[in-house]
Symmetry: C2
Subunit: 157 residues, 2 copies
């Protein structure tokens, strides 16, 4: 993957705020919108979700997940040219008592200041999505498959 | 669901162009962006995809799918307020020789005029997603579950 394509993928994962999370629910695929923040080295994508949410129940049952992140539809003539990436991996809950929690909370609130209220609720916690691979569609027919190691290499500019 | 909420869901499904499709791939969930167009009575959502695409291969293996459709992120302070809906259902391929194909093609090209080239390619065809249910998140804590019958009732204004 050339430097320009790497930069496009880094911008997409690093700067979007919304992902669509695929989980297994009763043996069938489920998809739902969620907010995320990527670890700067792309070793993890973080979700902050309620255990009352369906996708959280799903992740607790089966850790396999996929995240689909796309440029928002800006009304362009051909939305098929929107750049998008799928990250497949496993989800792990991070207990709120973990030492990493305070730093993650600060980072989360920097991006999502309106979400402060959720940190007052006992049912919210962070989930770490550890990517196994990524599939980047940079445009029509421009598909790039990356391993987790390749993903981490493009993370740092 | 009150009239205003019904209208919001009708607008969301009817007017967005991009969905994130969850499929089963090797027993694990997969998610990828795709374009869609809803049948006016919401009895189906149509995809026009290549059989070379992973999600098409997945649907051919296991018909269970979910579509997640959301308002595009407009940079608002709290993206958690973006309206989104998940439709779960089954996917059925429509052979290009079917009598419905011409009408669907016209409707597809009306919305996606730049996609005409894909109708020249033998590997593209329509897939009908028949929804079994819908889960509409109209805002924080405003979750509405609808059966397929309830979904069809809100389709017609």
């Amino acid at each position: 993957m050339d430097l320009r394509t790497s930069a496009l993928l880094r911008d997409l994962i690093g700067n979007q705020r919304v992902a669509h999370l695929a989980t297994l629910r009763g043996g069938a695929p489920m998809a739902s919108m969620t907010l995320y923040r990527a670890q700067p080295d792309f070793s993890a994508l973080w979700l902050h979700v309620s255990r009352l949410a369906w996708h959280t129940q799903d992740m607790a049952q089966d850790a396999h997940v996929a995240l689909s992140i796309a440029e928002p539809d800006d009304g362009r003539a051909d939305p098929f040219t929107l750049r998008r990436v799928t990250l497949r991996g496993k989800a792990l809950n991070l207990p709120n008592e973990s030492p990493e929690h305070a730093g993650l909370k600060a980072s989360w609130l920097e991006r999502f200041p309106e979400q402060a209220v959720n940190f007052e609720l006992a049912d919210f916690s962070f989930w770490r999505i550890v990517p196994r691979d990524a599939r980047f569609v940079a445009g029509f027919g421009q598909i790039h498959n990356l391993s987790a190691a390749e993903l981490s290499r493009i993370a740092a500019p």
